[in-house]
């Protein structure tokens, strides 16, 4: 068990290291980092000080380590637009994003999982077909199209809901719904196939042949086993709590991290971009680790396999 976790943590650290390396490489490849981050109008002394502070005259491998060190200390540069530290900008936007993504996640779970389970249990029925069509639609309709169509219907034509901005709670309805529906579709499809696979296993037939009520079979055999792969995808969704609303925030002019990222990319405000990139990586890695930990407890095969010493 300990080895299982050690491996997972090792992998997580490698992923973070890779992301930092990625940022470093991209940063270096695209030109002089001092000019890029400070901006072309910065006075020469500022640029020189920046180069010194970031060791840009040192050999490249030393810069690499310095970069790591800077990241670890939280020095992620300043936004070009207003000179404030990038971290501060990003952090202050997080609540706005979470206001959308957390309810959306709940919506996904509330619709997707029951929908998928129901469809699997009543395979071939009308509900199953409806769920499958909904799932396919959710996957093929891009989020911005869905959002704009909803705006068209509910804001423009019907006038019930506002089309953008963050003033009242009603402004959050359409964005949450847009986010939630797409994810619900994916989750429904996934849950359905996980359930179907589990239901097709012989131990299910054995249990019901033994006379266990169908309900008990589902609750105590099918669901727990289908839960295991489903946890992975939920983990991924949790990991994207910060990053998952980029497009939707732009559609609805919602001032969250996603919108900040898009604006920063358009303005080539690299410090902000870099900061968001690292933040997203940290979030993803953490949620993957949590999923891995949960797996270790949930899946008895992992527990006993480790005990037997196999890999």
């Amino acid at each position: 068990m300990a080895r299982y976790f050690a491996i997972r943590i090792g992998r997580a650290m490698i992923t973070i290291a890779l992301v930092v390396t990625f940022a470093f490489v991209v940063l270096r490849l695209s030109g002089d980092p001092a000019l890029i981050i400070m901006g072309p109008e910065a006075p020469p002394e500022v640029i020189a000080a920046f180069r010194k502070a970031w060791g840009l005259d040192d050999p490249i491998w030393m810069q690499y380590f310095d970069y790591f060190g800077a990241i670890a200390k939280g020095e992620l540069g300043r936004s070009m637009r207003d000179g404030r530290p990038a971290i501060a900008l990003v952090l202050e936007r997080i609540p706005a994003t979470l206001t959308l993504t957390i309810p959306a996640l709940l919506l996904k779970l509330a619709i997707g999982i029951p929908g998928g389970i129901f469809a699997a249990l009543h395979r071939g029925s009308l509900i199953d077909r409806a769920v499958m069509i909904g799932a396919v639609a959710g996957f093929t309709v891009p989020s911005f199209v869905l959002g704009l169509v909803l705006v068209l219907i509910f804001a423009v034509q019907l006038g019930w809901l506002p089309s953008g901005g963050q003033e009242t709670w009603r402004h959050a309805i359409l964005p949450v719904f847009t986010l939630g529906i797409g994810g619900a579709a994916v989750l429904a499809r996934f849950t359905r196939s996980a359930m179907l696979e589990v239901l097709g296993q012989s131990y299910i037939r054995t249990a019901s042949a033994k006379g266990v009520s169908w309900r008990a079979v589902v609750l105590s055999h099918a669901l727990p086993n289908a839960a295991i792969p489903t946890v992975t995808i939920i983990g991924f969704m949790v990991g994207t709590l910060i990053a998952g609303a980029v497009v939707v925030e732009s559609v609805f002019s919602w001032p969250g991290v996603g919108r900040l990222l898009v604006v920063a990319v358009a303005n080539r405000d690299l410090a902000v971009v870099q900061c968001i990139l690292l933040l997203v990586a940290a979030t993803m890695v953490t949620s993957n680790l949590i999923v891995d930990f949960l797996y270790g407890f949930l899946d008895p095969r992992l527990r006993s396999r480790e005990a037997a010493g196999a890999h």
Binding site: R3, I7, G309, A310, H311
Partner: protein, 333 residues
């Protein structure tokens, strides 16, 4: 007497396995000091149970795996290192046929294309020559021409094995290793394929190493036989003599277990103990836990393969001892 075509000297092959990513590496010795030689035009049969290391030996002899110690000489010179251009070129001189012909064939290509492949690989002559040669090969393994257009899954087991044989013989190799080539075939087909091999050997002056666990087949095709147990050769000699009067206790048990006309029931030697497991090799003579004649020395010291008669070598502490009394006294000879 001319030098042997293939000469194997104290070959060793240890498989290193690791238990998991952080486990301690262990070594499993599959081949533990094997020595023999094969003369030109002769067939050496290699007999043993699973776990004896015979398949590994076959691969080592062809240079398909690197040995950890010892050497293999082909036609007087050492084999080139694996996967070098010289090694690839040497494939034209030595080939192998396998237990599972279906696995050895590409399911997407028709048979004729696969039989032709060695000629393409080694750039033999020209297009017309290769086409003619393929036809010649198909005929020599007694496959009708239309079989060439079929796919491997459309053929029977015997036909597939003959196709693999045709492919192996495409470049007129001097040496052929057959690793359990008939074990997966029906008994009646086995006889056909074995007879085919014998005929081809005479026609083409092939030297063969025939690996099998089936004594009857080995006896039919081999001039000389080597018996392996847990990575070592325990007996080596002329095939007919060896089967008529085996010297090593293991060989005796093997021979008694295989049915032969005229032998009475009740003479079977049944071995006790666990089947051979290369990962848990006993000390001294690897056979001693199961040997009905084992004594103290057998556990302590592994016997060397010594020549006890012209064209017969045995690795056993019993041979060379004068009398059963000496054995009973546990004397160290």
């Amino acid at each position: 007497m001319t030098a042997p075509l293939v000469s194997v000297d104290r070959l060793v092959r240890i498989y290193r396995m690791r238990t998991g990513m952080f486990g301690r590496p262990r070594g499993v010795c599959a081949v533990d000091g094997v020595t023999f030689s094969i003369n030109r035009g002769e067939t050496l049969g290699l007999v043993g149970e699973s776990g004896s290391g015979k398949s590994t030996t076959g691969r080592l002899v062809l240079g398909l795996e690197n040995s950890d110690a010892g050497s293999v000489a082909f036609n007087g010179s050492r084999l080139p290192a694996m996967d070098t251009p010289e090694w690839r070129a040497s494939r034209a001189r030595m080939q192998m046929i396998f237990q599972d012909p279906l696995g050895a064939l590409d399911r997407r290509l028709p048979i004729a294309a696969q039989v032709r492949e060695p000629l393409d690989i080694h750039a033999v002559e020209d297009e017309a020559f290769r086409t003619a040669r393929v036809q010649e090969l198909m005929r020599s393994v007694r496959l009708s021409d239309d079989v060439g257009q079929r796919y491997p899954h459309e053929l029977s087991g015997g036909q597939r094995q003959r196709a693999v044989l045709a492919r192996a013989l495409a470049t007129k190799p001097d040496f052929l290793v057959c690793d359990e080539p008939v074990s997966a075939l029906d008994v009646s087909i086995q006889a056909q394929v074995v007879n085919l091999l014998i005929d081809l050997q005479a026609e083409l002056d092939l030297t063969m190493l025939f690996i099998s666990h089936d004594l009857r087949v080995v006896r039919q095709i081999s001039e000389r036989v080597a018996v392996m147990y847990l990575g070592r050769v325990v007996e080596l000699g002329n095939a007919d003599d060896l089967f008529v009067s085996p010297q090593h206790p293991y060989t005796q048990a093997l021979v008694s277990a295989s049915p032969a006309p005229g032998r009475r029931r009740g003479e079977r030697i049944v071995l006790s103990g666990d089947p051979p497991n290369p990962a848990a090799k006993p000390s001294g003579c690897a056979f001693h836990p199961r040997c009905p004649s084992a004594f103290a020395r057998c556990r302590a010291e592994a016997p060397a393969l010594v020549e006890v008669a012209p064209d017969r070598s045995v690795a056993c502490h019993l041979t060379g001892l004068e009398s059963p009394a000496a054995v009973a006294l546990g004397a160290v000879a």
